[in-house]
Symmetry: D2
Subunit: 242 residues, 4 copies
């Protein structure tokens, strides 16, 4: 395609601005900065950023209208996201915009609203290593990977993860502390595609891991809108008979 796929990288951007938080050192330009730098450098992708403390959280109608795929990272301030903006993002997803929900975004208003469940899970900030096994090697989100991704230090997320059964399950994580997790989950809501991807605790440099980044880029391409039919809803005349 000649026109690039337009990605908006959304970030809560609070941890990174706290000088005492490890994230301020690991992600000096914010998690959104790291992700947008990478995604914007991929062929066929154009990336912009938006953060919580911008007006309208950086997600004005016209921004969403010009966004093909939105990525979402949030953690400590989910409840500060305005309900009207959440409704706007949901409407845009149902209309075809892709959504990539990252790590602690599992508890974001937008993800919970699109899933209909609590999206709760087990967690532990400790000394876990994580190994993400590719469960579905045919899935385009697994392109270019080996059989698993090893991450030396990550926060643990463990099952039961209270989500609807994913339409495709691309990754399952193994944690050294004894847990498993469905860490790559695909959904369709309306005309929009959604991918939840587990890794990415703010205290670790996970978003510089080349395989993690490759997955996110793959997911962005997978979640790109298609020009399928725009459904007509409401009262309709019969197609047959008189």
């Amino acid at each position: 395609m000649s026109t690039p796929l337009r990605v908006t990288v959304w970030n809560e951007y609070r941890h990174e601005r706290s000088s005492t938080h490890p994230a301020s050192t690991i992600y000096p330009h914010g998690i959104h900065g790291a992700l947008a730098d990478y995604l914007g450098a991929q062929p066929g992708l154009a990336a912009r950023t938006a953060t919580l403390d911008e007006p309208q959280h950086g997600l004005a109608e016209e921004v969403l209208a010009q966004t093909d795929v939105l990525t979402w990272w949030g953690h400590a301030a989910h409840d500060q996201v305005d309900d009207a903006i959440v409704a706007r993002v949901q409407a845009r997803v149902l209309d075809g915009m892709g959504l990539i929900v990252l790590h602690s975004g599992h508890f974001s208003k937008i993800f919970k609203r699109l899933m209909g469940t609590s999206c709760d899970l087990k967690w532990r900030e400790g000394h876990d290593s994580e190994r993400l096994w590719v469960i579905d090697p045919a899935h385009p989100i697994a392109a270019g990977l080996g059989e698993c991704i090893e991450i030396a230090h990550e926060e643990m997320y463990g099952e039961r993860f209270d989500i609807p059964a994913p339409e495709a399950l691309v990754f399952v994580s193994w944690f050294s502390g004894g847990e498993v997790f469905r860490s790559g989950c695909c959904y369709t809501r309306g005309r929009g595609k959604i991918f939840y991807f587990r890794p990415g605790h703010e205290s670790f440099p996970t978003y510089f891991n080349p395989e993690v980044l490759r997955v996110i880029a793959n997911a962005v391409r997978w979640a790109a809108p298609t020009d399928g039919p725009q459904p007509v809803f409401g009262n309709v005349p019969p197609r047959e008979g008189s």
Copy 2:
């Protein structure tokens, strides 16, 4: 099991109280009355009713706590259902209560909240006949049926039905006016099971059709809570290592 399965039949109960509406003649005791009469007469089931205009819509905490499966019919007054009650029903579903959503209940707050989509569709009040084909003959909701259910007069609902892809698709409807519809859709949300069943326009005696009633009773049994594990969420210690 010796203790009966406790069903609460919820109904908006507005059309039937309007003396000029056909529903007042077809369902003199309300749609809930017809359904509760049938369900309460089935072996192993006990039925009670609840309606919109009762205090708390008849869905006090203690009622829900004593409900194994809730059936839901609403149409003209979805927006009059209190958001706090909707949240209460959702929490109870996630905790294991079954939910059977009937016909125009597709647009109820509780169904939309659990699905995460618009739940919109095509519709027509005309001269359609409906034939529900059994797509999944192995499913317990299809027990005791023939290959299809014929309904001489029904409102038409047509695709695109904006729902998540069902985990099991039990029925697909054919309409004489030229449309099709996924008319029997199974979901799991949290520990609760959900079944959407299409037929049941208030101006037709659909809820006296023995096969339609059989499906609803089957669905109630299928959606009954199981004593699976109660997930533990939140911070947990490691199971391995020191």
Copy 3:
């Protein structure tokens, strides 16, 4: 991608060579000819053909090795397809080759082997019209379509279609005679993607219908191999511990 996607269009090619059969007039170069002409003219696709009566049915090892996506049309001579060739095609699908199974190919050895079921259905050669409704407008196979595809004359296929529940259901057909059918079904088997597409009776010019052709081209692109991990099977050493 600069290298084209290599499609092999396989056809039984018997009806079209019978001068008394309507197919001989409708498809003077065979169904494979019509499909290969169309597919080969699409940007990024290269098409070749193979037929039953060629040596090895035209599916020598080296042909399959150079095939990214195989399309399959058969009807009257399924049992003349050599079991060894079927096993070869199955192995190639599991290794990543896409497979598009068309119409009466539902009863082919290869489709039955990949599904594990009888793949039986209802059918009628009569005066039916067919309307394929798009059920999943977000799916790439529905790109460029309207809400439904109308086909004035087609053979009827009706449920129950004895297949595993598809991973994605893209189309459901309405037939004027009263039946419905899951007419666009996606599967993954091993690293290969499979799409079953219903229309295409040999006595009708269905494979000149632009929307039907668009679906097949979309399906070919969707089923293209990805460079996901090549799984390692068998005995493996531990990744953890000593």
Copy 4:
């Protein structure tokens, strides 16, 4: 129900008859003996056994006709199972008989035939412990369990497990050596339900573990035939029109 559910426990029964094999000590009456003893003692279940070296492998037509659910354990002699018997079992599954495939039965002819894939996996006989996490606490197969099942010593099976994506994923296993595995997988084929359950290496007393046994009993009840419609296949007259 007053009539018991009839379970046939099939076993290869070779390891246990080899006096030098640990299985001869652990399962002196064979794995089938242990399973049939347990299942036959459950309320509403009646169990019989069948083994490879009996005539027709113990699976005569009349045995299968009187079997509601068949359990299958095999390992070293899959290729000695007669293809005609495999076809017979497949036909009976498609007609409604439940099938529970245990552990190394993943490589049985019947499982591979019903799945359509290689059913290959990673494995290791070492010093692994296994923890099966319940992923779907609402599923009837998880009834009566805690959040996970711990098995101190088991053979490891690791992903990629080359199966179709299960319709429901009930368990995912964690192994101490670093792997994960989809260890409880539900399928429907025809009118029959299939459950694959991972644990059960012949050198360990896994089939005396109360939670493992509970899962197998739950699965037998879940896989019981329902009296859904018997599909009519083949040429049919129209239901509409003249």
